[in-house]
Symmetry: C2
DNA sequence: CCGGATCCCGAAGGATACTG
DNA sequence: CAGTATCCTTCGGGATCCGG
């Protein structure tokens, strides 16, 4: 009997989609979420500092300008485009409050939060393995330089 | 005393790098690994079918043409470029065997394998949540269409 | 002023042909 | 087989303008 939730069944072992196939919708979806701005937006919305005074994991919300500031270097065009795409896919909600200067809040949905757990891993991986990668690059570049020098003289 | 390995210390809690800062090297690294071809290459090299007759998790190796076939739709240019970049960063090894038609094998390093665990999550997430995303898109698009109709007449 | 749409341009990515 | 070289198309960034 099925003791699993629908979500568990979906997330597990179901292979009606194959992300390696060029024509498969899941391939397009993987392409979307494997995007630097998508990853950064999800990280920002999920990681948002303070653990909330109420103690829970209430879906955090950030304003457009907050996101723009946190994701240093993002263009408004890409930020808006990325947010719209994520909203359409149901990963986050967009709430417009018609205050004097209009206020727009973005927050992760449950689906978005589930993806955030993964993208967050990428962020911490990048920070945690930066030194190792840097060392590898140096060794690799030095070896390439040595190769060039070897033919010399 | 430190009971952690150097790798654990590195991967954990060290925040000398901040991926949100535009100028930080880890931001550039995050941008690189948040790339669709990088994710697919890592998935392909790590997931490679048979669990090996020797039973272990011996680093799998795939030939260039195998990868090209598995990652349906990739251009040689991007595949080569991606592989070179990953090699430079120490995520995979490139082994050239000067047989009659030259043979080039690619395999994950330990560092690459550690990242593979994360990218693999993205692949399974995409496949597992495809239905949910598709449903959200339909609702979103329908709502947008309704909005347009609402202003009508 | 905030949030975002638009236009223009340079850079990144794809298709194809050719080479060791 | 495993690339490199050459186009050419598309996408992303910067600046500017708009709606509230």
């Amino acid at each position: 009997m099925a003791t699993q939730t629908a979500a568990q069944q979906r997330a597990q072992a179901k292979v009606e989609y194959d992300a390696f196939l060029a024509g498969c919708p899941s391939r397009a979806l993987l392409d979307r979420i494997s995007d630097k701005w998508v990853v950064l937006v999800l990280c920002a919305l999920g990681d948002d500092t303070e653990p909330s005074t109420s103690g829970g994991d209430v879906p955090r919300s950030m304003r457009y300008s907050q996101l723009a500031r946190r994701l240093a270097g993002v263009s408004q065009k890409m930020l808006t485009q990325t947010l719209r795409s994520l909203e359409r896919d149901g990963l986050l909600t967009r709430t417009v409050t018609p205050t004097v200067p209009v206020t727009v809040e973005y927050a992760l949905t449950d689906l978005g939060a589930s993806l955030h757990r993964l993208t967050r891993g990428l962020g911490t991986w990048a920070q945690g393995n930066m030194d190792a990668v840097l060392a590898n690059r140096e060794r690799h570049d030095a070896a390439a330089g040595a190769d060039v020098g070897a033919g010399d003289r």
